[in-house]
């Protein structure tokens, strides 16, 4: 009896093992998989054109340039277009490595929000993917060659994802952060606008000559989209698009983006140019602290407190003694810097309040910390809030 039981157990175990091994364990055949590293989404009449930048693994025993392929396909929906990419190429599109999604200029605001909603809910795309809007079409933007990297999306990500504490003239946003801001009580969000400027790092007009050669590895790179441009370009992401209630509200230029970033996060290194009677001086912001609160006095008032610690980096008068004792910045410079920052901050807030874009999260603050007053400000336009900037620029020492 015991022997019979043992035999039965062995037979059952073998059957179970066979059942378990019926699957292929989802092993990826890398030769048949399109690892999509970036998606460009454009709207064409009533359909979407999706441009996928696909990383191509190189089997080599030497280090080599990154290589990629660009494939475009159309579909009634974005995921249908992605599916059509698979049909066109014979590769199974794999979206879990997609770290960048760029929306072309033709994608309107409603469609953009709907697409972001879809990405959040999808298990195929990561919510940590960076998002950006393009000045041109996404296909054109991704098709360019750039000196920064052989793969254009990697070059864009380098710009967007530089050291977080030092990315001050670029406002980066990923799918999750954008969606959280959009669905928060402030109902406002932002993302960078990618502009394309012609010229390489070698030939850049305003930069000093660079030692780096623009090695694009174009001879190894499989053909990009035939409509794409082949000359070197530089991407500029210093413009920030601000959305309010799901619609584009305003654009922030480079200086405004810098100040905006100072209000959103801690910054350990940034630069502030100040006009003084002795000429322009460049101050390095080595520490920043910010706090945004809302008080209810006669009118709801947005208090923006910004504390900056600065050192003197450069001056038009290069032999100025202060440059050599840079931790001690003269009170005159500090006063001028404070006035400049206060003035810029007020202009920034005016711009945002005219556009009714609460990206500084004033209503969020009220919802979280003064909830009893939230109903009174929920539908109030930002222009009905008073603004109280409290700026302090101090010497690091």
């Amino acid at each position: 009896m015991k022997k019979f039981k043992t035999r039965i157990m062995i037979i059952v175990a073998v059957i179970v093992a066979i059942l378990y091994f019926t699957g292929d364990f989802s092993l990826i055949d890398i030769q048949k998989t399109a690892i999509i590293v970036a998606l460009g989404i454009d709207k064409k009449d009533n359909s979407y054109e999706v441009t996928a930048q696909i990383a191509i693994p190189q089997a080599t025993d030497q280090s080599s340039q990154n290589n990629d392929a660009m494939v475009s396909a159309e579909g009634d929906t974005v995921f249908q277009a992605i599916d059509n990419i698979g049909i066109k190429t014979g590769w199974q599109p794999k979206l879990s490595f997609c770290d960048l999604i760029v929306f072309g200029s033709g994608v309107n605001d409603d469609e953009l929000i709907a697409l972001i909603d879809h990405v959040i809910a999808s298990q195929k795309l990561q919510n940590s993917a960076q998002i950006a809007k393009c000045e041109n079409t996404a296909k054109e933007t991704l098709s360019h060659t750039t000196a920064l990297d052989a793969i254009s999306s990697f070059a864009i990500q380098k710009i967007l994802l530089k050291n977080t504490l030092k990315v001050n003239t670029v406002s980066r946003s990923n799918v999750r952060e954008f969606a959280i801001m959009h669905y928060s009580p402030s109902n406002s969000a932002f993302m960078p606008l990618i502009k394309v400027e012609e010229g390489s790092l070698d030939g850049q007009e305003n930069s000093s000559s660079s030692q780096m050669t623009a090695s694009t590895g174009s001879s190894d790179t499989p053909s990009k989209s035939s409509e794409g441009e082949q000359k070197n370009v530089i991407y500029d992401a210093t413009t920030t698009l601000v959305f309010s209630n799901g619609k584009k509200a305003c654009e922030l230029e480079k200086e405004e983006t810098l100040l905006f970033n100072l209000l959103l996060k801690r910054v350990d290194e940034s630069y502030l140019s100040v006009e003084t009677p002795n000429g322009k001086v460049l101050l390095s912001i080595t520490k920043s602290k910010h706090k945004i609160t809302v008080d209810f006095l006669e009118k709801p008032t947005v208090n923006v407190k910004l504390d900056l610690s600065v050192t003197l980096i450069d001056s038009e008068k290069t032999r100025e003694k202060d440059v050599f004792e840079k931790e001690i910045v003269s009170p005159e410079y500090l006063k001028l810097a404070t006035e400049k920052v206060t003035d810029d901050l007020t202009k920034l807030y005016d711009k945002l309040s005219r556009a009714n874009a609460d990206v500084l999260s004033a209503k969020n603050y009220v919802y979280k910390f003064k909830h009893s007053k939230y109903n009174s400000v929920k539908d109030l336009a930002l222009s009905n809030f008073n603004f109280n900037p409290i700026v302090s620029v101090k010497s690091l020492d």
Binding site: V12, V16, A17, L19, Y20, T22, G23, S26, I28, Q92, K94, I120, A121, Q123, Q126, N127, S128, N174, R176, A179, I180, Y183, S184, Y367, K368, F369, H371
Partner: protein, 364 residues
Amino acid sequence: MSHTIKNDIKLRQVALVFLALMPVTKVLMLPSIVADFVGEQIWLPITLNLLFDALVVFLILKLGERYPNLTFYEIAEKNLGKVASKILFFFIGAFFFLKSLVPILEQKHFIDNTLYEVFPNFISFFPLMFLSAYACLKGLKVLGRCVDICVFFTVIGLLVIIYFSVSTCDITNLFPIFQKPHYNTVKAMFSSVIWFTEGAYMLLFLGKFNNEKNGTIKIMTCFLIGSVFVVAIAVIFYGIFGPIANTQVFAVSDMTIYTTKIINIGRFDYLAIFMLLFSKIFAVCLPAYTSTKFFEKCFSLDKALIPALIVNGLLLVAIFVFKDKFLAVLDFSNKYLNWYFVLMGYLMPIVFYLVLRRRKSEKV
């Protein structure tokens, strides 16, 4: 009549059931579902449900103190009579059978959607039911040994998940602390009850372990630690996702991808997720095991073979029928089954304790 001590479980292992197996069933879909009802107050219905569970554990332990060395079956037979106790055992067995359905389907749903590129052949999940059927034939000693191993996987897995996700958490997303209408909290508690009622497992363990000094404190402490893990995961989850938390179906795999620690090299967090999935294998087998034992007592069977085959066979059929209809099962459970879970998982043990305590006092 005293029970056989051949397959007893140790008090330490009973305590570790609540640390090793209880939290892993609550970190997949539960946070997202509760967030849909109550938003920022995600911690409140989860904490309240856990408090109810803790109360049930405590009262059953107190019942055990009043009837030392007697199992729940013996206590019930002694006080309710054979027929009534068998009817009760049937309903408890049915409760645990229904309780096992959602966690198994949830596990399958998670694995199919997260770990596979394309949907796998559903047969590849069947071996779990064979494992469950085999476990149902074994005694509590085997369960105790499994728990001794699982506790390391669970604790390390949860700590790693918390470590990778806490830096991305914005705790202010959980403000204001109290503001929603209370009925939302009650709705959330009721809709999520299928993930709770683990306190009822003490009915299985009662009289099967030697009570030690401070035994109740040890068990309650492990329950508390397990509960803290559950609430911590839910709080961190909502801190990361805020108003979009209800769209993130699988909390534990969605939480960890935003950190810049080590994950940039690769998804090392999946090692922690695999650890939790390993523990969850035993966590999803436990209600089937408990159901088998109660049916065994209900029908006065010497061996658990027939109820084990029936319970696990029905679960196998359920997996086949509902293989891609998990949300429909959840919806059905919310509409028709949750009352039964509240009744059997919370009310029955509490009423049972109160009635027997009064009866024992009257006899004295």
